[in-house]
Symmetry: C2
Subunit: 407 residues, 2 copies
């Protein structure tokens, strides 16, 4: 944890990946993020992957560093506590993040009555108000149609297993809250901020040039396997079956590949034969299959250890294909050798490697990575210290089962 | 463009996707982002996709909303201008974003001499100082090994064509600059902020639960095609060949699938036969192949138009598989019907659909989406108005070819 956002407080009511990861990000940067959940947990409290004892590694990974209050959200007394928490006074309070339906007591209009300058971040599925998940927006923007090899309109589309839109949205939610807070600190104005998961994917399609390409060039992208579009990049197999991804995008990266593989003459001959100039990225793309054929034997004749040493020596840009299990169990960057990671004990689950945020703020200390809370772990302290309720008020809430702790 | 960050100024020297998209994000939110480039353009000024006249749709899409100054960076006079620009006084200035080598005149140490509280965001490849691109970190964290169908250690790995790590990093860079600026406004302390592309991928692996799963459960994820891990989600083909992704993650989503397909009895029988309870997500995952077989005929008997109407009617969560060309040319969400998009003329290229940032700040107006600058379009105004140089000083720089405009 890095205390760069020290003092900032955000209340979160959320499910799935994007919204919880937005709150987690702010917690990793030192904010006090209070997550509320129904007593017993919400719909993703047991989401897979789970341990043998049915603890969710998904839920606990996405809620690191937050405080937890467990409340019966259906009851007016529970709603009142949360409304007060969301609209607490103070410059660093009054920020709410949710992907729950913004209706009734949880609507912006209702909460704004309690704090006029509330900042309310509302994640929705699409702009029409329909639900959407990463997988239903990913298919919509076309990337599954160019995963694999073949013509986009002929091959069966293939999903990306990593929910990229969720992860991007999570960072944008954190960004949006900071931007709105900066604005409020200057103007005293709060506001509703909305973001639709589908729009995150569609805007990225534009920012990466795909929309311009389809409209201006009127072309359709093909699925090109492990090649990189418009330049040179390809996967190669070593003689022990290990695989590496090698890229020649910048001039230096390309020179490194040519020199390490000692293929300058062959590539020179190829350029002349094809009428191409491999100093140009686009020409390297035109000649990608022929270049790959020339480079392939160099990798195929060496074990991975030698390939890796020679590529590093030449200053090439490359990566090793690993399974997730391999990465976690044998990659030194996925270990405590990397200062971003720490081994942390998660009660009920055990100790495992937890990441801090990848941003490294050299002006503040790196404090220990904070685990996820147990459900309701901070109910009492939030009621007493954050909301300022008296002991008897708190007892009444526990006795009436309006709130619960994890004990 | 939304003026939420009005007044903020960031200087950017960058290439590839992540760093430029970070600056573009801040420009979309109203910051004055000044990008410097070598005269004639940097290494990605002509990167693919390009138009028939060799204008880069990649470069122009990633640099929307910025101002451009073209400078001979190798000459001391050019370096001095940029150093002064990066370290201009004022609360809203003194922020620099780069993925260039942080050495010599461009090092944090050197620039800090000119402005003690400088905020310097430095994107690097990996923590060891090696270069890395999206594709070389993606293979490292294992997602290509679970794309497609089969055992992670047996199938050939398959790259994701969408550079997710670059896009995520871009948003994190914008987030990090805002967090550091908030910190500076409270403490008067600037700082160097570092972020490594490889760490972005590794931290995400942890945040999504994959690291915990590999360490605690000691299992390896399989490549499961278009299924969603741990719950129910699958791609189905309609009778006209169109495909849809349908998800049953939440209880309501699952109920909608069962009711619309009228398969309650068959699924009930299946549960009993397999000893599963499909109210549990994990049990839906265990029975995914059998569930898919039961649902398949419902889709296969209907054209897409009917499938889509019935799914919407039932409140199901689903998406259509489209090629990028289809999305751009026939999806109403990828058109000016969506307030996030505007048709904007990009000189030298033509008019195309450009997105604003997906965050929608309801407390500020949506101003027109700003196109990318022409290279050096703002050189003169930046020298005169931002740096305050005199007419004769500026003439001398142009005459000496230290700077250039686009004219």
């Amino acid at each position: 944890m890095q205390n760069i956002l020290s003092g900032l407080r955000v209340i979160e009511g959320s499910a799935f990946v994007a919204a919880p990861s937005g709150g987690m990000t702010l917690a990793q940067l030192g904010a006090d993020v209070i997550r509320f959940d129904p007593i017993g947990g919400g719909m993703d409290y047991r989401r897979w992957p789970v341990t043998n004892s049915n603890e969710s590694l998904y839920w606990h990974s996405l809620n690191k560093g937050k405080r937890s209050i467990a409340v019966d959200i259906r009851r007016p007394e529970g709603q009142e506590i949360l409304s007060r928490l969301i609209t607490l006074p103070g410059d660093d309070c009054g920020m709410f993040l949710t992907n729950f339906p913004a209706k009734g007591w949880l609507s912006y209009e209702r909460l704004k009555e309690l704090r006029k300058d509330l900042i309310y971040m509302n994640l929705i599925g699409d702009r029409h108000g329909r639900s959407a998940l990463d997988y239903t927006v990913n298919c919509k923007v076309g990337f599954p149609s160019i995963t694999g090899v073949g013509r986009a309109d002929e091959i069966p589309p293939l999903n990306n297993p990593m929910p990229a839109w969720d992860v991007i949205t999570g960072q944008q939610i954190a960004l949006g809250l900071l931007a709105a807070e900066r604005h409020r600190s200057r103007t005293r104005q709060g506001q509703l901020v909305k973001i639709a998961l589908a729009d995150v994917a569609l805007s990225t399609l534009g920012n990466l040039g795909y929309i311009a390409e389809a409209m201006i060039n009127e072309t359709e992208r093909e699925a090109i396997g492990n090649n990189i579009f418009g330049t040179f990049g390809q996967a190669f197999e070593c003689n022990d079956g290990e695989r590496v991804m090698v890229v020649g995008v910048s001039p230096n990266q390309w020179k490194a590949i040519v020199s390490v593989s000692d293929t300058e003459n062959q590539l020179q001959e190829l350029q002349e034969r094809m009428g191409l100039d491999f100093r140009k990225e686009g020409d390297r793309y035109h000649g990608r299959d022929e270049i790959t054929a020339i480079l392939k034997p160099w990798f195929k004749r060496r074990p991975f250890s030698q390939v890796s040493a020679e590529l590093d020596n030449a200053g090439a840009c490359w990566g090793k294909y690993q399974t997730i299990h391999e990465t976690v169990n044998s990659d030194i960057d996925c270990s405590t050798d990397n200062p971003m990671f720490q081994m942390v004990d998660q009660p009920g689950i055990g100790a495992y490697l937890m990441p801090d945020h990848p941003l490294q703020f050299t002006g503040v200390n790196r404090d220990p990575v904070r685990r996820a809370p147990k459900l309701g772990e901070h109910t009492e302290e939030i009621l007493a210290e954050t909301l300022g309720l008296t002991g008897s008020e708190i007892s009444k809430l526990f006795d009436g089962k309006v709130v619960a702790s994890c004990g």
